[in-house]
Amino acid sequence: MEKKMNIRTMPQEDHLLNGHGACAGCGVAVAVKNVMRILGENTTVYVPASCLLVSGGGMYPHSAFDVPFFYSAFENTGAVISGIKAGYRRQGKDVTVVGIAGDGGTFDIGLQALAGAAERNEDVIYICVDNEAYMNTGTQRSGSTPFGAWTTTTPVGKRVQGKRQFKKDLMSVVSSQDIAYAATLSIAHMNDFVQKVEKAKSKKGFRFLHIMTPCTSGWKSDPSMTYDLARMAVETGMWSLYEIEDGETRVTYRPNEMVPITEYLKLQGRFKHMSKEDIETLQGWICQKWNKRYCPAVPPLEKKEEELALNGDHCEGV
């Protein structure tokens, strides 16, 4: 059987170079840096308005991406990458075209262009780096913001404390089209991450990668907690890892048992005001999602990441 790519065998050359302006401990930077390593130099990147546009796209005349980079607006990622791909196709150039948008640019303002590109099954990769609010403008609520979270537009005040609605199930929206590939990723599940990006790269047609990227400034968490937050999100059921291929959903990692959501919430300032009732409401929502995702029980497919790291399993025979 062909050996899957892992973090030791993946390409090492950077295309989001150092010197970029992301905050210390930025989850988006971790995600995009590794995505770019795998996609390689024969790639063209489109980034709409977002933190990544400023911190990675750069400020004229400097950019941190060393591959062709383009920007034009906020809501049109799905459309512009379709156009870029068509232009390359006309010239007989086989180039990986990727659009990397935030959750605001994907869940909200960019949903229409994304849905259009998915429906046409454009031969592009669309990546949503999801930090659960409009972070580039200073943490405003998006369709991705979870229930209870503080943002500047869902403030903790006298009437309500934080967001009153639940996070939009974007993957259901996107995968409702017959697209080539869709997957959820976490920067804490590194080999899973690498394999999904590699799979997306190797396929033709519309590919959608949804990456959870903790945000130190918007989540009010310590920069060093970015990894723990990404990992804990999966363990608590706030985030789950799966892929959809040919209409079949496959869970790629299943936690052994559900960790109470409080273990995740307490690591972040954005949830610290939450009442007992609100936490129960959120926990109930998670339980529903958990049951839907993991039951009937699917056996764990791979050993847990940290186990692998501890016993050095995945270092052998590489």
Binding site: L53, P61, S72, A79, S82, G83, Q91, G116
Partner: protein, 391 residues
């Protein structure tokens, strides 16, 4: 051999696109433009045109796709009207500064409430600050010819700006006229292969349209201003070249009719020019010294040409088919601005709003006002012709 066909304005635009061998055509339907993209879909499906036809989810996406494709260095086209153009508004500001010579046909239609699907210029006039060249045409032959000329002008190394061809909804878009189609080889000789200024290409990476700080924006904007200015001479030059190749000339930025010995003249644009010619002929037959100036380009604006053409006049009128609430029509504002310092009385003549039919008597009424103005009588600065109720 050149062929002659009976084509609508929309079909003429589509034939122009085919002859120009456009490569990527994002599209979205809207009345009264839709026939253009339907005709192009047929061309592609029947193997008459080899292009990527991308059905967009909106006009905003259509323009976004055109921008993406043009950024890789291929010839692109899209078409829209009215609300579609308004939805594109945000994206219209990208191609001029990024220097992507995209062609857009806007089939003029009134925009917003208090209107329907008929011709008015408030859609495209609102976009004249965006950095697109804008031409308004009079008949279906000019539609086809300006697609050809438009690409040649837009892609000229001295210009490299996007081109908006504005044609009147229904009055041209759905009206059949005689159109002479040039041969493909003739067009290939006239319109060289597109060579972009910059392009996305992993072999030679470029950072395109990243954020720009105040330290660089101003120089970029002035560059655009100068670029639009240099389009003025290229437009004239291409018209001469076009005449040599195809035997038709449009005069460049403006055209004139019966201006010799004219004492009063009216500036018109779009199909109004056609009907106004009839009015001029009838008034001339009565011995009245009236003339016509056909404003072709709204951007770049022919300020010098207008001053020159109007030097000998006793009164000048400007026809407007849209209005900036409380401050006249845009063509009048721009004309009076260009005529600053001249002592010729200039008046604005609003008509045909919301697609109301423009008849010969309407234009005669305008010339009546001009003759009064020329004889020193006091007239209204701005007259709405065909309006019910006292102004």
């Amino acid at each position: 051999m050149r062929s002659v066909k009976a084509l609508t304005g929309n079909q003429a635009a589509a034939y122009g696109v085919k002859l120009c061998r456009v490569e990527v055509i994002p599209n979205y339907p809207i009345t009264p433009q839709t026939i253009i993209i339907e005709q192009i879909a047929d061309f592609i499906n029947d193997g008459e045109l080899d292009a990527d036809f991308i059905p967009a989810d909106s006009e905003h996406s259509a323009m976004s796709m055109a921008i993406g494709a043009a950024a890789t260095g291929v010839r692109t086209f899209t078409a829209t009207a009215s609300h579609g153009l308004a939805l594109m508004h945000e994206m219209l500001y990208v191609p001029p500064q990024v220097r992507l010579p995209i062609m857009l046909v806007n089939v003029n239609r009134s925009l917003g409430a208090g209107s329907g699907i008929w011709v008015e210029y408030n859609d495209s006039m609102a976009e004249r600050d965006s950095g697109w060249m804008q031409v308004y045409v009079e008949d279906n032959q000019e539609v086809l010819d300006m697609v050809l000329q438009g690409y040649r002008i837009a892609e000229d190394g001295r210009v490299v700006l996007p081109f908006m061809l504005c044609l009147d909804g229904f009055v041209l878009s759905h009206t059949v006229e005689r159109v002479e189609l040039p041969q493909q080889e003739e067009v290939d000789r006239f319109l060289p292969k597109f060579v972009p200024l910059n392009r996305l290409d992993p072999k030679v990476p470029m950072s395109m349209n990243i954020a720009v700080s105040p330290a660089h924006s101003m120089e970029m904007r002035y560059q655009l201003d100068r670029q639009m200015d240099s389009a003025r001479s290229v437009i004239k030059e291409v018209d001469v070249e076009f005449a040599k190749a195809f035997g038709r000339s449009y005069g460049g930025l403006i055209d004139t009719y019966q201006m010799e010995g004219a004492e009063v003249a009216l500036i018109t644009l779009g199909t109004a020019t056609s009907t106004a010619r009839v009015a001029v002929d009838e008034l001339r037959a009565e011995g009245k010294k009236v003339g016509l100036i056909k404003l072709r380009f709204m951007r770049p604006f022919p300020h010098e040409e207008l001053r020159k053409a109007t030097k000998h006049l006793k009164a000048l009128g400007v026809f407007d088919r849209s209005i900036s609430a409380n401050r006249f029509g845009p063509v009048f504002t721009e004309t009076r601005n260009s005529m600053y310092g001249s002592d010729i009385p200039i008046t604005d003549h609003i008509a045909g709003i919301g697609g109301r039919d423009l008849t010969v008597p309407v234009f005669k009424e305008m010339f009546d006002v001009l003759e009064k103005s020329a004889s020193g009588k006091k007239v209204r600065e701005c007259t709405w012709h065909g309006l019910r109720g006292e102004m």
